[in-house]
Subunit: 477 residues, 2 copies
Amino acid sequence: MLTEVIKMLELMPILDNTKNTPLYVQLYEYIKQGIQNETIKPGMKLPSKRKLANHLGISQNTIQTAYEQLCAEGYTESNPRKGIFVINMEEDLFHFSTIETKLNKDKDKDKKKELEYIIDFNSGKIDLDYFPYSTWRKLTTQSLFSENSNLLSLGEPQGEKHLLEEISKYLFESRGVHCSADQIVIGAGTQFLLILLCMLIGKDYRYAIENPGFHRARNVFKDQGMDIQPISVDKDGICIEELKKSSANVVYVTPSHQFPYGMVMPISRRMDLLKWCTERDGFIIEDDYDSEFRYKGKPIPSLQGLDIIGNVIYMGTFSKSLIPSIRISYLVLPLTLMKKYKEHLKVYKQTVSQLHQDTLYRFMNEGHWSRHLNKMRTVYRKKHKTLLSSINKYMDENVEIIGDNSGLHILLKVKNGMSEKDLITAALKMKVKVYPTSIYYDKYENNRFPCIMLGFGGLTEIQIEEGIKILKNAWSI
Amino acid sequence: MLTEVIKMLELMPILDNTKNTPLYVQLYEYIKQGIQNETIKPGMKLPSKRKLANHLGISQNTIQTAYEQLCAEGYTESNPRKGIFVINMEEDLFHFSTIETKLNKDKDKDKKKELEYIIDFNSGKIDLDYFPYSTWRKLTTQSLFSENSNLLSLGEPQGEKHLLEEISKYLFESRGVHCSADQIVIGAGTQFLLILLCMLIGKDYRYAIENPGFHRARNVFKDQGMDIQPISVDKDGICIEELKKSSANVVYVTPSHQFPYGMVMPISRRMDLLKWCTERDGFIIEDDYDSEFRYKGKPIPSLQGLDIIGNVIYMGTFSKSLIPSIRISYLVLPLTLMKKYKEHLKVYKQTVSQLHQDTLYRFMNEGHWSRHLNKMRTVYRKKHKTLLSSINKYMDENVEIIGDNSGLHILLKVKNGMSEKDLITAALKMKVKVYPTSIYYDKYENNRFPCIMLGFGGLTEIQIEEGIKILKNAWSI
């Protein structure tokens, strides 16, 4: 049987060069809508890049990028040597497959079947559709082809100077962090940098962590054999009184967007925390993991920017704000610790690829980074708004939204009597994946109302609204 | 003043398409010889890629690659937007600049001046001139442009399955390592993987390390708070008797090429070591860091391949054999530890870039990896031979060569009465950089004859011979 190829005449998008929207986005939107409203039928083959490029009078690269987007979002799939085909969608409601389902394709078929059309409120997911892939590719290619033999060698333990300078500039301008490039150490992920920090600060200190708090950080401190003390969190962040009662002199905090509760630490609490730290002659580890995205009120500068003594260690990542796969996070060390780093830890080689360091440098230096952040702020603000309005529209007074000022997730306190486990299971039965918050507690008490974590970064607005509708039914609220 | 551009007619290499030598190598050799014998004068500008491509009737890519080689080796330098120029060489003897001097260009001018023409016997350097950069670039570009959205997401904690499968195949075929892909964990460098191992094995075990041994590994064990016991090394590797007297039940060894002494552990010692390990119910960490390069005798398979109980943890790296900048090393875990890894350490995210994982997969899968290894074996064998013959030719009986069967370095025991420090200083005064071995000892005794480490991977044969001549004079031997 011959596969039906979409006729050229059926693909006549009106592409407008003068618009702000790139041509490939216009083409992608056009085809996507065709697939959604079924003017383009399931199983049909898309025209070859070359033919369509000729037909529309645009470059093959533009077509390529649009086709890739469609494949990435699961509207089409590529069959090597045969071409690109519109997929057969089995259900009307779930016109999408997430990145996760793509990753899981290798796994056994049953599991695949089950996961294929899930709406996944994973807080670790970000919106990759808006990632400026063509720019990133262009710059990666430039890095690859530059006459810069550094790309082959190992490079500096701290990271390459030109990238560190861009990061330092960015942190000053957008987060009020005061540091020279020489105070920055980059590394392949926050966990590796926390391991370095443990080795740097050492075991003569006692560590406090937020409870609930970021489990991956708690894991590192535990695995590194640190003496850790969980400290409760109230509406303003970590409790200073409880901190004072503890014997800790190092504290790991997430003041810009407490993980997982989402509150922003107000200035008064910040000053108290700094005062506590000065008195103990200790350190504050400020993890600013998703501070780039803030939806209400004025931005609050980093703790590091308020610190005049040099007690604050600042850390951040490009995993949330750019892409996780390049594995670039960073530490900003106070001068005392930087000295110690240079004496003891330069023996540890840099873990980030030179190619990605160079590409990220170009990306920041040419202004793409700040443009990307601005764009993503708008994208996530819209999704955030959709999430809140959907909850308000579909759910009743048995739910309470927590932590809705910033970041890529919110918490939903559910008071219908179901346990956290029941809520998650009931949702999964209806193909919506939601996440527990109990794992973030040092010791979780089962008697409180469960809080469910809803990440929205990786979902479309339609998915978010659909997901909330389904959750409403699953939980009968 | 107008810069003199090399006249096209002066560049008439006879390029032979039918030769085994790639065209870009032929072109590069032609221009290099022109610069060396000064038919191409210092300060002259090379023709643009486009013009030369037209002139010679070959592709611009070929020209590009040849030009890059020349730049990488310091014969020419690129001046952005102006072109590529033949550099002014100040001294006749030192017609080269190493990668290191390029890296140091940013540093202060005096220091630069001093380092510019150094011959650096750094054992960490590898020969990057033979790195198949154009293939690597091509495959990287393929990865970048493939319709594989995985490249944007974080991926599996252990590493991507298709790459792990290639590594498993390679290890079986070339090192006799028995493992499934699912027993492999990749990570951004050996140090990070050793940290993971420390967390995995834990502090209930006591660790033995070779003395002398790899300092970066010792550092990790120390920084991870492990109880470490240094064990002497004799002509066959780590001393089993001393190991038996210790309370250790985990040992870190380099049996294929002891670091730094260079001996290969014979089969009898291997069997003794395995027996010791079984009796103690412990683990052997086998670091096979540069086993790919062996110059004498038959290859000896890995310890892991001899292990039937499951006590051996095998580790290796692509830093020595391919390039350090992609940051890919790997662990092969016995099943018991793999189970523990999956239970406790999957919380640690993968540290290697997805792009490089995919590119390396393509590189291995298409056969480039084994071709590259074969080529490098020949390259390093020649350098190794030049090093040994130069020492025999120029130096007297006051030196003794140690560890000359494999790897990218040898040791030179110097018996002229000078201390290790004096030997290094005297060499540096004559612009040759050599390295101590005292740092590899747990406690170094000053009264033995010093051993100087000579790495040859990053030097050309001419540099090696020149370096040995200079050392002869510097040390009066």
